[in-house]
Structure formats: structure tokens, C-alpha cells
């Protein structure tokens, strides 16, 4: 995989900011989009644009084929049954479907919903809102100072036999940690036969080869915009039989079988959970993104990021006063790299680095409990993707040095 060649597919990467070439290190927030994705959407709008599923005319048929064709390819990309691919507006909505249509109905007092301290708010707040109504116990696997799950504490929780739902991220968006999801899922199921395993794939699906079965996940939530796709589309991928047994969430067109004034019966999955006009162009775009990633090969993408990590981790640690959060072994982590500069606040760091053309993110990264656990209210995060090159690492290091100098005045 040649990242220098790949960059040519991404118009945004040609940009300059504040007079300097853009070094985009914020892909964990959202990735840039290759031309192939933009063109697929453009073509859809210019050629086939029509509402799906309900039309007998040519455009409606073409739109439906494009939409359902993308569903099939996205399903294959994560090893799921197309009937178990529900398109949502983002990963967050996917978690909320599970919180409203599963947790609220199936969990109650005495049940434990086990999450972890490492989770993004999308994999925390929906459960908290459900808990307030359904009254189950919400418990958390603690995170070690090294940014990994405390496996002993996990085992103790699992051993109670009360875990009815286990929610865990496959990869931390703050500290990069790759969790041993398959092992965790197996341990949960061994001691809690009917527990639902929900995996947050928002960071892992864009960066690692993913197979639902190999993960041992019943449900996997992810977003299009972090994996070269457009905004406005996310995915709930899961076991269609479990989805079929769940009551509906959003009501409206498309998700019904029949409607009378008295009530409605519901369509089969995945349509039951796709109320209203779906994000047709966005799904087509995500289909093109998946094609792009498959052409490169997810194993290659991962190898490229490991190579970047092998260079960037020592480079950052080598700067006086800088420390990196999370696992130090590239094999155990993804390319979201949070770091601290002694005495400086991430918000200030982000602003100065931006002036140097280096786009990093500063803040709590929607994972306040984790960041607090790291002993802070914010971190500075540089996150890499397939279009980042080894040549950009010196720019990152220089920007950090400049920032330090600026505040040392």
C-alpha cells in the first residue's frame, strides 16, 4: 500500500491551512473522503435519484438496486447477513435502537448491563437513559492506568451470572487500545448464556479487518463518516433473528406491514428499523467506501497504521515533557494517539498546532469518564489513517516543539 499514491484520491489533503500544507491527524473524529465516494454519490443524484422500495418507475428501481446492492457489500465487509444490516444516521442511533428496543424491554431489576470505563458517550448515555426507566444495574469494567481493561475486574463481574448485556468498544477512540473482544464475548456468554454482546466498531471497522462471527458479537455499531464514507449514515449490524424479535423503535413509513387507524403491524428486518426515507445517497456512498477499502485490503490498512505507530510513538515520547496515553505496543493499539505536554492544556496545544498546519483534536473526545480516569479533563489526540505518511510525522513533532516554545516565552 502506497500512502503517497493514495493521497491523490483525497481532494481535501491537497489543502493548505494558515499557509501551510494540511497535515490531517483527526481521522478518529471523521475521515476524509476519496473521490470515488464523492463520485458515487454525485452519480446517484444525477442519474438514479428517486425514493427507494416503493416505486415502479425506472429511477426508483435503479435507486433501490443501488441501495440494496450497497447493503449486501457492507454486510460482506463485516461478515454479517444483509438482513441484519440496519442503516441508521450514525453509530449513535444504532446504540439507541438497542437501548430502546432491547435494553428497555429485556433488562430489568437484578440484571446487569456491563459496560466499560473506556466507552464513548454513544456507548454510555443510551444505556444510562434506559437504566433510568428499566431499573437494571449499570456496571463498568475499570480501566487501568495504562489504558487497558482491568481483566480481573471483568472476570469478577462476569462470574456473577447476572450480565444480560455487555457493551464494549473494539478500539478506544482516545487511547487507541484494541480490546480482546472475542475473548471477552466468549467469557460473557460462558457465564451468562443469554447475554447480548454489543460491540462499538466505530473505530475498529475503519481500521481493522472485521468479522462479526469472529468477534463473537451479537451486535456491532459503526459510522460511515469515519471509514471514508459520507456523514448521515451509520450501521447496526447484527443477528437478524435477534433483531426480528425486538419491538420497533422509530415509527413511520417503510417500517410497517399494514397500518390502520387502530394500529400497525411491522415489516420484516432490516426494514422494521428503517423508518422513513433512508439515507439513500449516503448508503450508496458508504458502499463505494467499502469497495475502496476492500480494494486496498483491510490487512494492508492495518499494517500501514502499525508502521506509522512504530514511528510516531517513539517520536512523541522522545520529546521532552511529552507523554503518550495508552498501550505502547503498536500490536495492541490503533492509530488514535492521545498525548500530554507537561504544563500545557490541550486546547492551547491544538490551537498552536493548527497554526502549523497540523490538525489534531483537543478535548474529552466524547469519553469524559475515560479522560477523567487518565487524570485529566482533556487530551490532545493525533489520529492517523491510510492516507497519512511517515513524512508527516516530523511535521507533528515540529508542531509540538513549536507549541512548547510558544508557551515557554
Amino acid at each position: 500500500m502506497d500512502a503517497t499514491m493514495i493521497r491523490k484520491d483525497f481532494p481535501t489533503l491537497e489543502r493548505h491551512v494558515h499557509g501551510r500544507p494540511l497535515v490531517y491527524l483527526d481521522s478518529a473524529a471523521t475521515s476524509q473522503k476519496p473521490r470515488a465516494v464523492l463520485e458515487a454519490m454525485q452519480r446517484y443524484y444525477e442519474d438514479a435519484n428517486a425514493n427507494v422500495h416503493r416505486g415502479v418507475h425506472a429511477l426508483a428501481e435503479e435507486a433501490t438496486e443501488l441501495y440494496e446492492g450497497a447493503r449486501a457489500r457492507i454486510a460482506r465487509f463485516v461478515g454479517a447477513d444483509p438482513r441484519g444490516i440496519v442503516f441508521t444516521k450514525n453509530a449513535t442511533e444504532a446504540f439507541n435502537i438497542l437501548a430502546y428496543s432491547y435494553a428497555r424491554h429485556r433488562l430489568g431489576p437484578g440484571d446487569v448491563l456491563l459496560a466499560t470505563e473506556m466507552e464513548h458517550h454513544a456507548n454510555l448515555v443510551p444505556w444510562q437513559l434506559a437504566q433510568a426507566e428499566a431499573g437494571f444495574d449499570l456496571r463498568y469494567v475499570p480501566v487501568t492506568p495504562g489504558g487497558e481493561l482491568d481483566l480481573e475486574a471483568f472476570e469478577a463481574e462476569v462470574a456473577t451470572g447476572r450480565v444480560a448485556l455487555f457493551a464494549v468498544t473494539a478500539m478506544s477512540n482516545v487511547v487507541g487500545t484494541i480490546n480482546p473482544v472475542a475473548d471477552l464475548a466468549a467469557a460473557v456468554k460462558a457465564a451468562n448464556r443469554d447475554a447480548l454482546v454489543v460491540v462499538d466498531g466505530a473505530q475498529s471497522v475503519p481500521h481493522l479487518p472485521t468479522d462479526l462471527v469472529a468477534l463473537g458479537a451479537d451486535m456491532l455499531c459503526f459510522s460511515g463518516h469515519k471509514m471514508l464514507g459520507p456523514t448521515g449514515v451509520g450501521v447496526l449490524a447484527g443477528d437478524p433473528e435477534i433483531l426480528e424479535a425486538m419491538p420497533p423503535f422509530l415509527g413511520g413509513g417503510e417500517m410497517i406491514a399494514n397500518v390502520t387507524l387502530e394500529g400497525a403491524t411491522f415489516n420484516e428486518v432490516p426494514y422494521k428499523f428503517e423508518a422513513g426515507t433512508p439515507p439513500v445517497a449516503e448508503v450508496v456512498g458508504l458502499g463505494a467506501a467499502v469497495d475502496y477499502l476492500e480494494r486496498l485490503g483491510m490487512a494492508e490498512v492495518r499494517a500501514h497504521e502499525v508502521a506509522l505507530l512504530e514511528a510516531v510513538l517513539p517520536a512523541l515520547e522522545g520529546i521532552d515533557g511529552v507523554s503518550v496515553h495508552g498501550p505502547t505496543d503498536p500490536a495492541r493499539r490503533g492509530a488514535a494517539v492521545s498525548f500530554a505536554i507537561e504544563g500545557l492544556h490541550p486546547h492551547d496545544i491544538g490551537t498552536i498546532m493548527d497554526r502549523e498546519g497540523v490538525a489534531v483534536r483537543a478535548g474529552h473526545h466524547c469519553a469524559k469518564p475515560l479522560v477523567r480516569k487518565l487524570g485529566s479533563v482533556a487530551t490532545t489526540r493525533a489520529s492517523f489513517y491510510l492516507y497519512n505518511t511517515l513524512e508527516e510525522i516530523p511535521a507533528l513533532v515540529d508542531a509540538v516543539e513549536t507549541t512548547k516554545r510558544f508557551f515557554d516565552r
Binding site: 422500495h53 416503493r54 428501481e61 406491514a257 399494514n258 403491524t265
Partner: protein, 152 residues
């Protein structure tokens, strides 16, 4: 792909002069209601079973020419058949609609005229409506509840 592939003469004939179309069936043991959620087509199917075979059936409904004609042709093809045999024929029809083979062409009788519908994906559900109701009716009969309702 012309309009005549879809609207084969035989189809139009069944549409205009449907066989086995009636709102009642004397001695029917089972009655099911199916509908197509996308276009709103509705179909009722009644079955009278004797000695493990379909002695007679009647369909009624509100739907397009393809769905009504297909139910009509289905009636002709399955009356007199044993339940298991009728199910097998329904599967043969389904495969044909998905362009996945041509089995038991002779047994499908006028049903074979629907072959061209396979080229019109949005109309495949119409052609299948009656056959899906049949499968459901047979299952209901076996289950002994005698009533069914489904939206395909």
C-alpha cells in the same frame, strides 16, 4: 425486455377472467389474508383439503393484474395436488421468479407465463403473493388453527 414479457397474453386473460376467484368457499377449513406492504395489494385465500390434497380453493383480493392473474393460474395448477406436492410446486415457482431455475414447467401450467416477471424485480412480489398465501394456508391447515394473516 418488452411490455409483453411482463403482460403475457395468458396473464391478461387470467386477469380479465380469473379462475377460482370467489369471496367464499364452501367447506373451507382454512382462510388466510396476505398483503404486500410496499404497494398495498391484498389477497384472501381459502382452502378445502380432503385426503391430504387440495380439493378446492378460492382467492379474492384487490391487487394488480400480475398478483391477481398469478393467483388465478396458481389455482388451476394446484387444485387436486397433495399438500406436499403443492408446496414443492410453490418452491419451483419461487425459483423461477428469482431467475434461479425452471423446474416442473408442465405442472406450473399457465404459471409458466409469469417467467418474464423475473425481469421486473419490483413486480416479483406481486407474482408471488398468491403462492406465499398458499404456503401459509397449508401451514395453517397443518397447524390446525385455520386462520392466518401475513404481510409479505
Amino acid at each position: 425486455m418488452s411490455m409483453d414479457d411482463l403482460y403475457h397474453e395468458i396473464i391478461l386473460d387470467h386477469y380479465k377472467s380469473p379462475r377460482h376467484r370467489a369471496s367464499e368457499l364452501e367447506g373451507a377449513q382454512v382462510s388466510v389474508h396476505h398483503s404486500n406492504p410496499l404497494c398495498g395489494d391484498e389477497l384472501d385465500l381459502r382452502l378445502r383439503v380432503a385426503d391430504g390434497a387440495i380439493e378446492d380453493l378460492a382467492f379474492d383480493g384487490d391487487g394488480c393484474s400480475i398478483s391477481m392473474a398469478s393467483a388465478s393460474a396458481m389455482g388451476q395448477a394446484v387444485v387436486g395436488r397433495e399438500l406436499g406436492d403443492a408446496e414443492d410446486l410453490a418452491e419451483a415457482f419461487r425459483l423461477m421468479m428469482h431467475g434461479e431455475g425452471h423446474k416442473r414447467e408442465d405442472d406450473l401450467a399457465d404459471g409458466i407465463a409469469f417467467e418474464g416477471v423475473a425481469k421486473f424485480p419490483v413486480r416479483v412480489k406481486c407474482a408471488l403473493l398468491g403462492w406465499m398465501a398458499l404456503l401459509d394456508a397449508i401451514e395453517s391447515y397443518r397447524g390446525g388453527d385455520g386462520r392466518g394473516s401475513r404481510d409479505d
